[in-house]
């Protein structure tokens, strides 16, 4: 059963805990610019958007990689083999959602590996804005969130 990271943008408070723990668990040191998830903060309009690899079903990055460094794991989706990566950045250029990033220290491509099935960002997100859910449950989850919003709206209206 394939699982994915589900991000609820409304819940994100922009604390960057996800970036911090991502770099700490992968590199053993703190360096958010080496994180596989990145919270884009638009301070002037108060918007925080966590961005990361969405684990596409037909990954463009995999198709364009000249070194076949990107592979597809049935459970964890796209995975990158850093020893094969030559740092050509074509995957970054071609990713339609900005989910692939560049490690500024090693100058190689990095992408979410789902922490071998226990994503640390989801574990420590204080607002549960990041969750690790079954892909098949995604539409149900979205529907449930929609109903919650509608219910809240109706309740406010009746007040």
């Amino acid at each position: 059963m394939q699982k994915m990271i589900f991000i609820d943008y409304d819940k994100c408070i922009g604390c960057k805990t996800c970036e911090t723990v991502c770099s700490l668990s992968h590199q053993g040191r703190v360096n958010p610019s080496q994180a596989r998830i990145s919270v884009v903060r638009y301070e002037r309009i108060g918007i925080n958007v966590p961005m990361m690899c969405q684990k596409c079903q037909d990954p463009v990055c995999m198709a364009v990689c000249p070194m076949k460094a990107i592979t597809f794991d049935p459970a964890l989706g796209t995975q990158i083999d850093n020893s094969r990566c030559i740092g050509c950045k074509i995957c970054i250029l071609s990713c339609p959602i900005g989910g692939v990033s560049l490690d500024p220290v090693n100058k190689k491509t990095i992408m979410c590996d789902l922490c071998e099935g226990d994503p640390q960002c989801a574990r420590l997100c204080p607002e549960k804005a990041i969750e690790y859910v079954e892909v098949s449950l995604l539409p149900y989850k979205k529907r449930r969130d929609g109903i919650e919003r509608l219910e809240k709206f109706l309740r406010e209206e009746r007040k």
Partner: protein, 618 residues
């Protein structure tokens, strides 16, 4: 070096050179942040300097936990000699600047000298360049940050607004578009150096001693923070705080003359409607679960982030008795953009609104709008005039005490302030004896650095909780009763220590206390690899506190300077839950005696030789 970058940047603006010094020289004894900043101030300031002259350094310092995975670790401490009080001036700010500075490879920055024309410092990892800032000079904070960020939203900026450029004592240093090192005129010191901004971006990262150990501790600390009774309510504090202050009987209105304001409930309702109708998104600081910030946008007025604390909307409303939240929001946006301390500025406006009807400002304010309570236009007008130093604003820009002396005609008797002449924050002080003592003995006059969280604050609304904390800290529930003088010195000393530790380790003082020293000690060990104990941490706090004292003594501070405004001793409260309460001078002096003794200082408040030896400061 784990947790630290082991580099403190020293930027000389006069000679335009940049060098670094080692953090290690200071970190063993002073931890980081506030502790190291005080030690640097003590080393760099020759004593008796004019705060606005090149000799006065401006020191930014992060702690060992800043920018790590430790919850609420976005803090940076700023220390200099304050132009408002002539004493140690310090403020601590959250946000994202401190972490970014560390990722660039620096624990702190010491700015010395003075540039010939406006400059900003551009830091990208090892590249530290002093650049021309003539195009930024005169710009507001929002615009300055936007300009310096250009295409990279991760660039963090520390800057001043027009108020800092004009050396206003109520000016702070803005960290990007929201957090402020607000109090004591730090912005004026930055302005005197013609330093408009520091922009930093770092991609080098930070070494951690035990990565897995740190990750393992974080969930537990997050849980503790979420167990705070106020945690679920934080996002609503933007309007609820009015009623919380009321339920603790802490509020006052205007220039400390009224405990009751007839229109207050209408104002509270307006606050709620204002927040509910605005575009509202919850926000927070680096790695912090608290979300005490929010982005609020009001059609036709504008949007900005705001902290749900005593120093923002509540301060503006209760001091000025303005109940139109559209006007208050505009006033807040102006303070944020012009670079003013909202707390101090609203206190000064209330002071002017108190004097005006008494005829004391007749020759200084002849125009409309009338400077009276409730007049939102007057509030807005005066804020602009303070920032730009026009007319009456030019006098008020010095801060409440100095302004009161300049105005004369008995204005000094109406002025209310903390130690050194710094404005008090929004809280009635006469019934709260611990708060009064803390405001008088604190390093900088800033209650934000010493008093926040004192268990007497919430005695009225959460008595059981307050008593439990008092019992745990000083051994008796009685210490939680606001009006009791007994046991307050010890309580105050412990809270000061906790503030010092939070500010020195690089963690916000709000979650610092409920999490407890035991856990923070474990976090410190995981980050730095250096084992510690609560006892060792408290000893470090003692050392830092006494060094702060030595700094102030060198600046001429004596026992009689450890006090607050006379009115708090002479004018009993005339209404409300604390009717008749006033500070008793004799008992107040006794509290000081006991406090000095606890600190190992003599009757004049000077650290004893044996204390200096015990703390390694001799």
């Amino acid at each position: 070096m784990n947790g630290y970058t082991d580099k403190i940047l020293v930027v000389d603006l006069t000679y335009k050179n940049v060098r670094t010094i080692s953090t290690q020289k200071y970190s063993d004894r002073f931890q980081g942040g506030r502790g190291i900043a005080v030690a640097l101030a003590y080393d760099f300031i020759p004593g008796d300097v004019n705060p606005l002259k090149p000799e006065n350094p401006l020191i930014f310092m992060t702690g060992p936990l800043t920018g790590t995975l430790a919850p609420s670790s976005g803090r940076i401490d700023v220390i200099t000699k304050s132009p408002e009080t002539g004493l140690l001036g310090g403020a601590n700010a959250g946000g994202f600047f401190g972490p970014e500075l560390k990722y660039a490879g620096y624990d702190g920055i010491v700015i010395v000298g003075e540039a010939a024309s406006p400059v900003y410092i551009d830091i990208f990892n090892d590249d530290v360049i002093i650049k021309d800032a003539q195009n930024l000079w005169g710009k507001g904070v929002f615009n300055t940050v936007e300009t310096l960020r250009k295409s990279d939203e991760d660039v963090q900026v520390a800057c001043i607004g027009p108020a800092g450029e004009r050396l206003v004592n109520l000016s702070g240093i803005a960290f990007s578009m929201r957090n402020y090192a607000a109090r004591g005129g730090l912005g004026a010191v930055m302005g005197s150096k013609k330093l408009k901004a520091i922009a930093v971006r770092g991609t080098k990262g930070l070494d951690i001693a035990k990565a897995d150990g740190l990750i393992g501790l974080v969930a537990g600390i997050q849980d503790r923070i979420k167990m705070m009774p106020s945690y679920p309510e934080y996002p609503e504090w933007h309007y609820k705080l009015f009623e919380i202050l009321e339920s603790d009987s802490k509020s006052f209105f205007g220039n400390y003359e009224d405990r009751v304001w007839e229109d207050r409930f209408e104002a509270y309702e307006n606050a709620k409607r204002f927040v509910k109708q605005a575009e509202f998104r919850r926000e927070t600081c680096f790695a912090c679960p608290l979300r005490c910030w929010a982005y609020i946008n009001v059609k036709g007025i504008g949007g900005s982030s705001i902290a749900a604390c005593q120093g923002t909307l509540t301060s503006l409303a209760n001091f000025s008795k303005v109940k139109d939240f559209g006007k208050l929001w505009k006033a807040y946006l102006l303070c944020q953009d012009l670079g003013l301390d909202v707390s101090g500025t609203s206190a000064v406006v209330a002071f002017a609104m108190d004097l005006y009807p008494r005829g004391m400002l007749d020759d200084l304010w002849k125009q409309e709008p009338k400077l009276i309570y409730g007049n939102g236009d007057a509030l807005i007008d005066l804020i602009k005039k303070i920032a730009l130093r026009e007319g009456l604003g030019n006098i008020l820009a010095h801060g409440v005490r100095k302004a009161s002396l300049a105005i004369g005609k008995g204005a000094a008797e109406r002025a209310v302030y903390s130690k050194g002449g710094l404005e008090l924050w929004l809280m009635e002080i006469r019934p709260f004896k611990g708060t009064a003592l803390s405001s008088a003995v604190t390093d900088s006059g800033s209650q934000n650095r010493a008093t926040y969280g004192l268990c007497e604050f919430y005695y009225k609304s959460m008595r059981k909780q307050a008593e439990m904390v008092a019992k745990k800290l000083v051994g008796t529930e009685e210490a939680a009763i606001p009006t009791k003088y007994e046991h307050k010195p010890k309580l105050v000393a412990i809270y000061e220590n906790l503030h010092i530790l939070a500010d020195s380790l690089g963690v916000c003082s709000i979650p610092f206390m409920p999490v407890g020293l035991e856990l923070w000690g474990q976090v410190f060990a995981a980050v730095t690899g250096i084992e510690t104990t609560p006892k060792a941490l408290m000893l470090a706090a003692e050392r830092i506190r006494t060094l702060e004292r030595l700094f102030n003594i060198r600046e001429g501070l004596t026992r009689k300077d450890d006090t607050i405004a006379e009115r708090m001793f002479n004018e009993p409260l005339k209404d409300g839950a604390w009717k008749g309460e006033v500070l008793n001078r004799e008992k107040f002096e006794q509290m000081k005696d006991a406090y000095y003794a606890l600190r190992g200082w003599d009757a004049e408040g000077k650290p004893k030789q044996e204390t200096l030896e015990k703390l390694g400061l001799a």
